[in-house]
């Protein structure tokens, strides 16, 4: 029965700053807002689509998706109401598209509407999304927690440049989800209560929810696992033994879910020598200005072989990590198995690879060839686990005769796009850098397209671009194009694996760890279905209390 289980306490150690995911695309904002506003379709814990506001998932078979793949038509569920009691209609969906694609709005999720020509509402319960090009995987707009639907009535005055002025709406959006916002304190705490007009009469089980922010991961974990003050804690990136010890207190349990996140090394394919000028350093010049040795696959191979990925998992990730050799480790249909040799460390093998390629140890143990020393600058963002990884990797590489200098950069600088800073990951003023990337949803097409030649960041593009390691292979670009025209899932899978292998075997990226989300919930909380494909709170309507 709705509200029967009383109060639910959730802690997010990074506090949400707004409830409007279109204004701030941060994970914490998206997750918090997912309790209130919903997309048409969500992904469940296995990455499969679940209809939320539509009666069924449109496919080519059931006629929902046009044969030419240029449109998709959603049938909305009947009787769905906004929390203010008004009807949820197709107009709201159309408005959401208008809202997010307004040129002055700076909508953080506008990429979900890439390729969308228009959204129409032929009738109150039908939404038709038209694409400019055929779209083999059309489930982007209004699918997943990053692309929810907002109420037209509430936001109609908030289009474009006016968006930030609607503070009340941004902090307390009216939604179709199981909860409504009572009070929102930015970066601090959100108080919510059950939505009276939620479409399932007996849900949610909790009458009220508090989502508290602040502190750090250890404190959040402690609050759930040790003191029992909270029921659910999000994103517990902690040393495995610390978390185990806390779990041993018996008050709660740790849950993990894997999505597509991979911690990887990017090997700079361009020359990052610090003596080069700003127009040359790490600048891709059509095969000129190549990195002196990282473009040699033997070097990349040896670097990869020298790493004991499982140990990295044990030290830094525990349950929340798996050793991997693929940039695209999931979903299963797309995961290659061709590279799995790398899972076992082989220092001797690595040495031999280098030896064979002509890299011989010099007087100080560092290998050289043609006067070129194997000496790398290895950077990443500042983060305890990453620095442990760096230290371990450095030691292994030293063993095979590669000199390594470590550097770490404050995360807000490293991931910030400030073109004037030398330390951004896009600028890549280093030989090797390490971070995690993933893609939202379950379709890797856009993700794999990241490594086209045209995506390489350069000074001309203000260092914008997603092909960070400056990988460029015309053959690869062709496969990308091919995939964008292929609808058949199996073929798409093959293509994706092919691309994955090209990147991994070209050693421009060395995948290390397939990372999962790690959260904890109290033993008295049931119904949690942790997922990394969508918001962790995607099924909060089903959460309930047990003794």
């Amino acid at each position: 029965e709705r509200g029967a289980d009383g109060h639910l306490n959730i802690i997010y150690w990074q506090a949400p700053s707004t409830m409007n995911p279109f204004l701030s695309g941060g994970t914490k904002e998206v997750e918090a807002s997912s309790m209130v506003i919903e997309p048409l379709i969500r992904f469940d814990e296995k990455g499969e689509m679940v209809p939320m506001l539509v009666s069924e998932i449109p496919t080519v078979e059931n006629g929902g998706v046009a044969e030419d793949l240029k449109s998709i038509t959603y049938k909305l569920k009947e009787g769905v109401k906004w929390s203010d009691g008004s009807d949820f209609t197709a107009e709201d969906v159309v408005f959401t598209w208008e809202y997010c694609t307004h040129p002055e709005g700076g909508c953080a999720q506008s990429s979900y509407f890439d390729g969308v020509a228009s959204v129409e509402a032929p009738d109150p319960l039908t939404v038709k999304v038209n694409f400019t090009e055929p779209k083999p995987f059309p489930y982007t707009a209004f699918v997943g927690s990053e692309s929810p639907v907002i109420q037209k009535a509430q936001f109609s005055e908030c289009l474009g440049a006016k968006a930030p002025e609607c503070t009340d709406a941004n902090f307390g959006p009216i939604g179709t989800g199981p909860f409504t916002v009572d009070e929102f304190k930015p970066n601090d705490v959100i108080s919510l209560s059950a939505n009276e007009n939620y479409r399932e009469a007996d849900k949610p089980a909790f009458a009220t929810v508090t989502l508290k922010g602040g502190g750090d991961a250890a404190a959040a974990a402690r609050a759930v696992l040790e003191t029992g003050e909270f029921d659910y804690a999000w994103n517990l990136q902690l040393a495995p033994e610390v978390l185990e010890k806390m779990e041993a207190a018996g008050k709660g349990e740790v849950v993990v879910a894997f999505g597509t996140s991979v911690e990887r090394l990017h090997l700079n394919q361009t020359n990052a020598d610090s003596s080069l000028g700003p127009d040359e350093r790490s600048v891709f010049m059509n095969g000129e200005n190549k990195h002196p040795f990282l473009t040699d696959p033997a070097v990349g191979k040896a670097l990869s072989m020298a790493i004991d990925r499982q140990l990295l998992v044990d030290v830094g990730y525990g349950k929340a990590g798996k050793a991997t050799c693929n940039v695209l480790p999931a979903p299963e249909a797309y995961a290659s198995t061709a590279n799995d040799d790398c899972l076992t460390q082989d220092i001797e093998g690595a040495k031999k690879v280098l030896e064979d390629a002509g890299w011989v140890a010099g007087a100080d143990g560092v290998r050289e060839k043609d006067g070129m020393r194997l000496s790398v600058l290895y950077q990443t963002s500042t983060n305890a686990v990453r620095q442990d990884t760096q230290a371990l990797v450095k030691q292994w590489w030293n063993e095979i005769g590669v000199e390594t200098e470590l550097r770490n950069v404050d995360a807000s600088v490293f991931f910030g796009g400030d073109p004037s800073s030398p330390d951004t990951f896009q600028k890549f003023y280093a030989d090797i850098e390490m971070y995690t990337n993933n893609f939202a949803g379950v379709d890797p097409e856009a993700y794999m397209a990241n490594w086209r030649c045209s995506e390489i960041p350069t000074p001309k593009t203000q260092w914008q671009g997603s092909n960070i390691q400056r990988f460029c292979d015309p053959a690869y670009d062709e496969i990308v194009t091919e995939m964008s025209k292929t609808a058949d899932l199996e073929t798409r899978g093959e293509l994706a694996k092919q691309m994955n292998d090209m990147i991994v075997q070209g050693y421009s990226i060395i995948p290390l760890i397939h990372r999962g989300g790690q959260s904890a919930h109290a033993k008295t909380l049931a119904g949690v279905k942790m997922t990394d494909w969508d918001s962790e709170l995607w099924n909060i309507a089903d959460w309930h209390r047990v003794e």
């Binding site: 700076g106 909508c107 750090d216 404190a219 003191t227 991931f415 910030g416 893609f439």
Partner: protein
């Protein structure tokens, strides 16, 4: 005194404008980007759109004057409006935070209560503890009490709060379960029970903060008492036949308090500035936590506004300290 005060106040305006400019330039120069915290799945083109919508595209002087205008003209109007129900500020853009896209001052107002509760109480508690310790240590210089006091205060000074904070949480929340480890900012104190709850959740952070402040204040108090205990007027007071209590607590204390009171006054901006680490450790989410999250998120308007408010408080309390000095010490005259 009044003319002195107004003269200093007037002088404060150019000072503050300059400080504002420096802060602005510093933050502008700082690397980092408001979109840094967004997931990497958001493509670069979208990020650029976001930056433009935040107003980052405009040239620097315009941004500075806009900010100054909003801070000094629009925000006071908003305050007036909210008090008198007028509508001077209608239509004027306020200083907006980049993270929340909401008016910065609203967030600051929201944070002040918990900061005052926790940091303010800690300050008061520290004063209440530190003064007697300082007085007695000085009165019995080099006694056991004095030595132990010195020892403890120096330890208190040398332990960073990120350690002492977690330590007390582990002891009092995890092992003993006496106090919560997480501060509830939504708690409304309206009856005895909620008041007790508030007390409970305040105890740990106040303890950690007060330890540090006590350490410093008691050193000041001790030194100041020592300076005065050997003055001639103390002997005069004794010769009048006054008891030790009134000699020390009336004659000596009043004089020793003059420098200490100004030190205390100068510490007050720190209360409003919050205690970054302690707030973070106990999830108090006051001004200090606001500042640090804003810095981490490159929320420039929020950071510069907070810093600037802090600068105003510093200038103001410097002035107040000087005035207090003049009030407490009849020998000092400012005209």
């Amino acid at each position: 005194m009044l003319t002195y005060f107004t003269r200093r106040l007037l002088l404060a305006i150019p000072t503050l404008l300059f400080i504002g400019l420096v802060i602005f330039l510093l933050l502008d120069l700082a690397p980092g980007d408001p979109t840094a915290q967004l997931p990497l799945t958001i493509p670069p083109a979208v990020r650029e759109q976001i930056r433009i919508s935040l107003g980052l595209g405009e040239p620097l002087p315009i941004r500075f004057f806009k900010w100054m205008y909003q801070f000094f003209i629009v925000e006071p109007q908003v305050v007036i409006d909210s008090i008198f129900g007028t509508s001077f500020s209608a239509g004027d853009a306020r200083v907006l935070s980049w993270q929340t896209r909401s008016p910065v001052m609203d967030i600051v107002w929201q944070r002040i209560p918990q900061t005052l509760w926790v940091v303010g109480t800690a300050y008061v508690v520290a004063i209440i503890i530190a003064l007697p310790i300082g007085i007695y240590s000085a009165y019995r210089q080099y006694s056991i009490f004095d030595n132990v006091g010195t020892f403890i205060t120096m330890i208190g000074f040398s332990v960073p709060p990120f350690f002492s904070g977690v330590l007390v949480i582990v002891i009092f929340s995890v092992n003993l379960g006496w106090f919560p480890s997480i501060y509830d900012t939504t708690l409304v104190v309206n009856d005895w029970d909620s008041f007790m709850q508030q007390l409970q959740q305040m105890i740990l952070p106040v303890m950690v903060l007060a330890l540090q402040i006590t350490s410093q204040l008691s050193r000041f108090m001790r030194a100041s008492m020592l300076d005065n205990l050997n003055q001639d007027y103390v002997r005069t007071a004794r010769a009048k036949g006054l008891g030790e209590k009134s000699v020390v607590l009336v004659h000596v204390l009043r004089n020793s308090m003059i420098p200490v009171v100004t030190v205390i006054a100068l510490g007050i901006p720190q209360i409003f500035g919050g205690a970054i680490i302690t707030e973070q450790v106990f999830k108090v989410n006051g001004i200090g936590q606001l500042l640090i999250t804003a810095i981490q998120a490159n929320d420039v308007p929020l950071v510069q506004t907070l810093t600037f408010i802090f600068a105003i408080l510093i200038v103001l309390f410097n002035l107040i300290a000087d005035v207090l000095y003049g009030l407490l010490d009849p020998r000092i005259r400012y005209d």
